[in-house]
């Protein structure tokens, strides 16, 4: 026990003396949450649009006002001819153009049928389809309002409810993602690097000659990073609840327990990486390319896995972050209990056992 404490103290001193790394480790989650929360958002807000109103009657003017008033759009330009649409797009100032034909009001009143053309800049297809969806929704609202006092022969009233995230906030999506990313980065990369650093420096040799058990050396290295991760989990959750207003709908205990499980998976991965290589650079490279990129790309946090080709979908199953991401979303956002996430939990437990067994087997008690 005394050995263990001496060693853990030393590990804390290493982290404490390297202030730059320490601030990166503790500051990174805060910055990521703030950047994702306020800057990198894929929500559509106040997109600039242009309007070509050829009829300029009561109905068209009020529709345009409605578009402008919604929080999604900001009418930037009033165009006078079709040609100007192209020019406006080329200048890159607008994302969407709304064209209202001649006699918009008359058509609406007399033949009960008027058309609106939406032209979107599809160089970014996701934004284009989101914008046309929002514009359609605004137009439908408008239509419902002016027809509400008339009786239509048939009508299908579609009522949409966005479950779990009624305001369609992006934060619901990236908070779980950032948690997965930060934990992986802190645990996998830092564990791998600190163990390999001792190999590089030659101090590992001295540790292995001492009566300290090799498992103990590794275990005591993990303790400080486990604690750092706990601090990070806390700061991410506090920020997301109080700054981004993402609620924790499920049990906090379950969420923390699952996060600790994922932290252990990440630590055992770091240990595994440290047994493969003897240089700090290689360890960092493997951790970044082997863990960080798949986490960002294949956890479902940036790009939906459902839309990927089969090989990638299959491959995503071995990315631990994918399962953790599902768990955090289920517990935090949907408010599910352990019964809702037992399968994913089991996958993580399986991964932990597998990585740990391989790593401990590979960890050479006697250096070559």
């Amino acid at each position: 026990m005394k050995q263990f404490f001496s060693f853990v103290t030393k590990e804390f001193l290493h982290i404490w003396r390297d202030k730059r790394t320490m601030f990166i480790l503790l500051g990174m989650p805060v910055f990521q949450i703030i950047i994702f929360g306020f800057a990198l958002t894929n929500e559509v807000k106040n997109s600039k649009i242009a309007v070509l109103d050829q009829s300029k009657d009561a109905a068209s003017v009020s529709l345009i006002q409605e578009l402008d008033a919604s929080r999604y759009f900001d009418v930037q330009q009033n165009l006078t001819s079709y040609k100007e649409i192209e020019t406006a797009f080329r200048k890159g100032k607008i994302k969407l153009a709304v064209v209202l034909p001649n006699q918009f009001d008359e058509d609406l009143q007399h033949i009960n049928k008027a058309s609106v053309q939406l032209i979107a800049d599809a160089s970014d297809p996701n934004v284009a389809s989101t914008l046309t969806n929002y514009a359609t929704a605004v137009i439908m609202d408008f239509q419902n309002r002016i027809t509400s006092n008339k009786k239509l022969p048939y009508s299908i009233n579609v009522e949409t409810r966005m479950l779990y995230n009624p305001q369609l906030k992006g934060a619901y999506n990236f908070v779980p993602g950032v948690m997965a990313m930060v934990l992986l980065l802190v645990c996998t990369m830092m564990t791998a690097i600190t163990i390999v650093r001792e190999k590089e420096m030659g101090t590992m040799e001295v540790m292995l000659v001492s009566p300290m058990k090799p498992q103990m050396v590794v275990f005591s290295k993990a303790v400080p990073y486990l604690m750092l991760s706990a601090v990070n989990i806390a700061s991410i959750l506090l920020l997301s609840v109080f700054v981004l207003e993402v609620p924790i709908n499920g049990s906090l205990t379950l969420l923390v327990a699952e996060s600790l499980l994922f932290t252990l998976v990440a630590l055992s991965l770091g240990l595994l990486i440290s047994t493969i290589t003897d240089s700090q650079q290689a360890a960092m490279f493997i951790a970044l390319v082997g863990m960080f990129l798949p986490t960002v790309m294949l956890s479902g946090f940036m790009f939906p896995i459902e839309n990927m080709p089969l090989p990638l979908r299959t491959f995503s199953n071995i990315v631990p972050a994918k399962w953790y991401y599902i768990i955090v979303r289920s517990v935090m956002i949907k408010g599910l209990g352990i019964m809702g996430v037992w399968k994913e939990t089991l996958v993580l437990v399986g991964m932990l056992l597998f990585f740990l067994t391989v790593a401990v087997k590979r960890f050479k008690i006697r250096l070559q």
Binding site: Q3, T9, M201, E205, V209, S210, R366
Partner: protein, 247 residues
């Protein structure tokens, strides 16, 4: 006589694939001796030493250290030895005192023991003002002397030194050897590898390894006489000329 044998190796061998790094070496080291383990780079000194320390598993042969078998009682050996590796083995981002606390703790020493011993070493090395400075700020010579003090911090029966004076100036080397003598006077057996032949003269006995085999083993004086050489340097050159492999 045989009772005071503290390290014993019989036909100890280590192979890496087809390469035989250490080839059936047999030797005994007596208690309190300064045993010099000499050889050119790549002769197999470090590999032999690592087998004795439990860092490397022998391929065949027998060996015991402090009465414990290297195959079976690895853990007991570790408690009884100190080790200083070729690479500098203290933590540079810890202070002198913190390093000693760490090593004392790892060897399970009490707080009082660590405190007294730390003071003793700080006084011995005249480190008074530097004790709370980071090790990386010390000059190399001091670092090496400190590393040696830390290797015998827990007062082991045997200390293994792997080329401890590499890259150190002659004055510091001299001081370093004075520390080795002091340790030997206290009854610590010193097993030291080196390729500085002047250092070989300081040893009670030396063995000279060439291509994984022990070619000669005796007191420095006896070896000089046998090979009709004025210095250990000459003895070594005569033997090492036979070497067929180099690093």
């Amino acid at each position: 006589m045989s009772n005071d044998i503290i390290i014993s190796a019989t036909k100890l061998t280590k192979r890496f694939g087809h390469f035989t790094a250490v080839d059936e070496i047999t030797f005994d080291v007596h208690k309190g001796e300064i045993f010099g383990f000499l050889g050119a780079n790549g002769a197999g000194k470090t590999t032999a030493m690592r087998m004795l320390c439990g860092l490397s598993m022998p391929t065949s042969g027998k060996a015991s250290v402090a009465g414990f078998d290297v195959y079976k009682h690895n853990e007991d050996i570790k408690k009884n030895i100190g080790y200083m590796s070729q690479k500098f083995s203290l933590y540079e981002d810890l202070t002198v005192r913190e390093n000693m606390q760490l090593y004392g703790g790892i060897y399970g020493k009490s707080k009082a023991f660590i405190k007294d011993k730390t003071q003793e070493i700080v006084d011995q090395l005249h480190l008074g003002n530097e004790a709370d400075k980071l090790v990386k700020s010390l000059p190399l010579g001091w670092k090496q002397k400190l590393a040696f003090s830390v290797a015998i911090f827990h007062e082991p029966g045997i200390v293994f030194l792997d080329e401890p004076t590499g890259g150190v100036d002659p004055v510091t080397r001299r001081e370093f050897w004075n520390m080795i003598y002091e340790a030997a006077d206290k009854g610590i057996t010193v097993f030291v590898t080196t390729h500085y032949m002047d250092e070989a003269e300081y040893c009670s006995r030396v063995s000279i390894m060439v291509d994984g085999k022990i070619e000669a083993m005796d007191t420095p004086a006896e070896l000089r006489k046998r090979y009709n050489a004025p210095s250990m340097d000459e003895v070594f050159l005569k033997l090492a000329r036979k070497a067929t492999r180099s690093e």
